[in-house]
């Protein structure tokens, strides 16, 4: 990456010699990113992040196929970078059908099948929600979408580099990814668009990325993403094994040491690096701050940990009581995490929970409703 931040600063679009090296480097990266998901290099569009990829997919398809129809199928598990564009399209006259989700966070391919109409232009379902980790039946939905001739997009941002994803096997028409999830630099992303599927660009101008994403390339970032993609492919099974071993140990350890606590999402059929819980009677941000003071980082779907002061829409979708959703915590493991670090985490967490429960008026109550509708 470094040469492209210091020496080889030519514009890859330039015809003169300075553009040669950056241009070749980008095409190498494109090859590596394509191979990671079983795509052809010309089917990869480099973007700036996962959110841009998602926006490009949704708005790009909606624009390109508006004449065919204005019906889209999606799920309530989606990231805001899917939900917000969809809600915007709704205002412009598009119709969105929302798939139901079960209590473990699974959507049903059969329901998707039954919702497809003649004017359905897109089905978009995440590969795995980053809040609950459940792996969605992407392959089955892909098969149905193909049979019914609707485009199928999956937001695979949380899954690429952690799951074996092959766009051809899965019958996916569009797939979003973000480089930083598989250890590429932040500010990198890509959208896979199957050959023959049309989209309109978000950013218009130059001819970069076949005119589908104008603007000077982030050469260093793309090069980094290519290298990270190659390593992610080579080490996929090794990483999966390491992470799922730690994940299973983490889940078991938390559930055994903390009473009144439950796992959210599926227990086995989930992202290998992902563990998420609701810890009853206390609030997520308080737990995370205590952990943070001990050098351990996590996230939460509680109201207080969100800028919008809203409880997580994903926890709501899987039917979790909003009072328990306040105690939601998500821990994701990285390839550098060790069993020793995990043991330390498992030692630190129970006393924090105990301390916060001592403060909470909810602790031990058998009637949560009496605390629910007060002013």
């Amino acid at each position: 990456m470094l040469p492209y931040l210091s020496e080889d600063l030519g514009n890859p679009l330039s015809r003169h010699v300075l553009g040669d090296k950056p241009r070749e480097a980008i095409e190498d990266a494109r090859q590596n990113v394509a191979e990671l998901i079983g795509a052809n290099p010309e089917e990869i569009i480099f973007t700036s992040c996962g959110s841009e990829s998602n926006n490009l997919a949704i708005k790009g398809i909606a624009g390109a196929y508006a004449k065919k129809g204005k019906h889209i199928i999606s799920s309530p598990l989606e990231h805001h970078s899917i939900l917000h564009p969809l809600k915007n399209l709704e205002k412009q006259g598009y119709e969105i059908s929302w798939l139901k989700v079960d209590e473990k966070g699974n959507v049903s391919p059969q329901e998707a099948f039954s919702l497809i109409r003649k004017d359905t232009i897109l089905i978009t379902v995440t590969s795995a929600s980053n809040e609950i980790g459940t792996l969605e039946p992407v392959g089955e939905i892909g098969r149905i979408a193909q049979e019914k001739e609707a485009a199928f997009h999956t937001d695979a941002v949380a899954a690429v580099g952690l799951q074996d994803l092959d766009v051809k096997e899965l019958n996916v028409s569009l797939l979003s990814m973000a480089g930083n999830i598989f250890y590429a630099p932040q500010g990198t992303g890509a959208l896979y668009v199957k050959k023959g599927v049309r989209i309109l660009p978000l950013i218009e101008g130059g001819v970069q990325e076949n005119g589908l994403r104008a603007g000077t390339h982030n050469v260093a970032g793309i090069v980094g993403m290519g290298i990270a993609a190659r390593i992610a492919k080579d080490k996929l099974s090794e990483r999966q094994k390491h992470l799922s071993f730690l994940r299973d140990r983490l889940i078991k350890g938390v559930l055994e040491s903390i009473p009144d606590c439950f796992l959210t999402g599926e227990d086995k059929n989930r992202l290998p690096n992902h563990a998420s819980f609701c810890i009853k009677f206390i609030e997520g941000e308080s737990i995370l701050l205590h952990l943070n003071l001990r050098g351990i980082a996590g996230t939460s779907g509680s109201t207080c940990s969100s800028e919008a002061l809203k409880v997580s829409h994903v926890l709501d979708a899987i039917g979790i009581d909003p009072v328990w959703a306040q105690g939601s915590v998500v821990f994701t493991l990285g390839i550098e995490n060790t069993a020793e670090e995990l043991d330390l985490f498992l030692k630190e967490l129970p006393p924090i929970v105990e301390k916060l429960r001592l403060m909470s008026p909810l602790t031990g109550t058998d009637n949560i409703d009496k605390f629910r509708y007060k002013k």
Binding site: S286, C304, M359
Partner: protein, 131 residues
């Protein structure tokens, strides 16, 4: 790290009260109890006061909520203990937030909750007294 609400927006004083809350617990024979908030929305505060000769003799709290909710609960108990009832109008949400060295903007409602808890506890005290 994702950017959003960040822990380093909390002052040292907030963190200190959060990690070592003062006057935690319940007062069994409290003269006034104020309960405000909503567990559904992520914060619920209980404030217990003991009053003698028109002075707050003791105050304790229990809180379900984020760091700011716990820190403001702790701080308000410290601010009211030993104070005559006539001076409690000075204990406003603003005063609590200031005593904590400020709160992140998005967390200012927590100090409002503390002030509401105090008001509710005093109302409860007046109600019990006139009975």
């Amino acid at each position: 790290m994702s950017a959003g609400h960040q822990f380093n927006q909390y002052s040292q004083k907030v963190i200190e009260h959060f990690t070592n809350p003062r006057n935690l617990g319940e007062i069994k024979d409290a003269d006034g109890i104020g309960e405000v908030g909503n567990a559904k929305c992520g914060d619920l505060m209980q404030l217990f006061i003991k009053v003698k000769d028109e002075i707050i003799e003791d105050a304790k709290f229990k809180t379900f909520g984020c760091c700011a909710a716990i820190a403001t609960s702790s701080m308000i108990t410290e601010m009211i203990k030993g104070k005559p009832l006539s001076e409690l109008k000075d204990v406003t949400n603003k005063a609590v937030a200031e005593a904590l060295g400020g709160l992140p903007k998005i967390k200012l409602h927590c100090s409002v909750l503390a002030e509401d808890a105090l008001k509710a506890a005093l109302e409860d005290y007046q109600r019990k007294k006139t009975k």
